[in-house]
């Protein structure tokens, strides 16, 4: 590691998520370059930027789908990518990752529902198999969540019988069933037909207003990001080029790159 110092634990009252000097490379390509990013508990942070700017990588590293090459990620005060051994931080082993992963839920662009299971079974699977809930408890929890996303009546349908918007709402319920503290939304409306995007966004609005969840959302829906976010981060070239409240980023961007990106995106819509 570099000259940075990384505490073994963060102080109480610290951010829910902290990226400290995080670097990610694919061979010679630097995807994220010494990223520092803090997300407060219950904060809703939108990540926008051109493709290849590293925004999805941020979520994938948090979900431990990717390893990191330098730096430390903390979740809820504890290191995620590392663990403490004899007073030092060492690379996290499988069981530490497993423990920490329980804090995080993720919703994917392509839903990734289990096609051989009904909506209800999709939601119940992990609570039963991972958390060890009884079938009854898991079913009750899952039905409540399917009701929250407005799909209680579809609980016995397989994904192939559901529309894209419905599938994505089931995927949200499935992630919520694990009671994560941090929810990651990775371009959750990008694969949807325009007419069903609204129903998914409504569910996210509801989550944001009624649930205490820390959310990181990578999105191309600028209007939605502006409406819902506490903070917007504009990624460019593997780091945050500009961040701030949505009014500032969308209304009065300071960075030339942000201005260019936003005018290009808004022109296209």
């Amino acid at each position: 590691m570099s000259e940075h110092t990384y505490p073994n634990k963060l102080e109480p009252g610290s951010p829910m998520v902290r990226f400290s000097n995080v670097t990610k490379r694919y061979g010679p390509l630097v995807v994220l370059d010494s990223l520092d990013l803090d997300v407060a508990p219950n904060e809703m942070v939108s990540i926008i930027g051109p493709s290849g700017s590293g925004k999805t990588t941020v979520l994938r590293m948090l979900m431990t789908l990717e390893t990191i090459d330098d730096g430390v990620i903390y979740v809820d005060g504890e290191p995620l990518t590392h663990m403490e051994r004899n007073g030092d931080l060492v690379k996290a082993n499988a069981s530490h990752l497993r423990k920490m992963r329980g804090n995080i839920g993720m919703v994917f662009q392509h839903f990734n529902l289990f096609p051989h299971m009904t909506a209800l079974q999709n939601c119940m699977e992990a609570p039963v198999q991972v958390l060890g809930l009884s079938k009854d408890e898991a079913e009750q929890r899952s039905v409540e969540l399917l009701d929250l996303v407005g799909l209680a009546d579809k609980k016995d349908q397989h994904p192939s019988r559901l529309s894209g918007g419905q599938q994505q709402r089931v995927a949200i319920a499935r992630a919520l069933a694990m009671r994560p503290k941090v929810m990651l939304l990775d371009e959750v409306t990008s694969a949807l037909d325009p007419e069903v995007i609204g129903e998914v966004l409504n569910v996210i609005r509801k989550l944001n207003s009624e649930h205490s969840l820390t959310m990181l959302m990578v999105t191309h829906q600028m209007g939605f990001a502006k409406e819902i976010s506490d903070r917007v981060c504009f990624f460019y070239g593997g780091n945050i080029a500009e961040q701030g409240p949505p009014d500032q980023i969308f209304g009065n961007p300071k960075n030339e790159r942000t201005r260019q990106f936003l005018s290009a995106v808004l022109e296209a819509t």
């Binding site: 431990t64 789908l65 992963r101 990734n112 289990f114 051989h116 299971m117 198999q129 991972v130 694990m178």
Partner: protein, 223 residues
């Protein structure tokens, strides 16, 4: 010249049918071994430990590139030189089970490879263990794609059981040979062997297609 004797045919039929039981037993046990061992061979090639992958890969290639009858001889006749003395049945089941396990592992491998990366990532995100990821999510989805190949090899192993006659397993072919050398009539025994094989293979193949459709429906994955 063509003197088919019905009375002789009916006389030998009970012995042939009795031997058919052994053929079915051999095919069933051999296939059972192959189903389980094939999965082990397929999964062993997907661990993060590359030496294991390499060894298993080479082993599978080796088995697939050498004749079954040689493998049967090897287990039965060469084994004793190393102090491994097995009866014909055990030797035969090991050889044919292993042989078809190698083929089935390739069928499983293709099925497992067909599962999109997103399914693995969803399992990771939901914190499912590797074992549960495989047995509850990945394998059930890989199954429909693997079933046609698995069915082919079920019929295949059934048709290969006559090879066990070379080490004296009293299956259908072995019994037909014995009847031939006892009576010097080969027409009826061998013809009946063919008829019996057909009578079992054809309905099995049809049944397998129904089974495939049923599995797809049950998993909610019908096309």
């Amino acid at each position: 010249m063509f003197d088919w004797r019905w009375d002789f045919t009916f006389e030998i039929l009970p012995r042939l049918l009795w031997a058919t039981m052994n053929t079915l037993l051999a095919a069933g046990i051999g296939y059972g071994i192959a189903l389980v061992l094939g999965l082990v061979l397929a999964l062993a090639q997907r661990t993060p430990y590359w030496p294991l992958t390499l060894i298993v890969r080479e082993f599978v290639e080796f088995i697939r590139s050498t004749p079954l009858v040689l493998q049967i001889f090897f287990v039965f006749y060469v084994g004793p030189q190393f102090g491994i003395r097995l009866d014909p049945w055990t030797s035969g089941m090991i050889a044919i089970g292993l042989h078809y396990a190698a083929y089935l592992s390739e069928v499983y491998r293709a099925g497992l490879d067909s599962i999109p990366k997103g399914q693995w990532e969803a399992c990771r995100a939901l914190n499912l263990s590797a074992r549960r990821t495989y047995f509850r999510i990945i394998i059930p989805q890989a199954l429909p794609a693997s079933l046609p190949g698995m069915g082919n090899y079920l019929v295949g192993i059934f048709k290969d059981t006559p090879m066990l006659s070379v080490i004296g397993v009293a299956e259908l072919m072995h019994t037909a040979n014995a009847l031939g050398s006892e009576t010097y009539r080969f027409l009826e025994p061998y013809t009946m062997v063919g008829v019996i094989f057909l009578a079992i293979s054809l309905p099995t193949a049809a049944g397998l297609r129904f089974f495939e459709a049923w599995v797809r429906r049950t998993l909610g994955m019908s096309k």
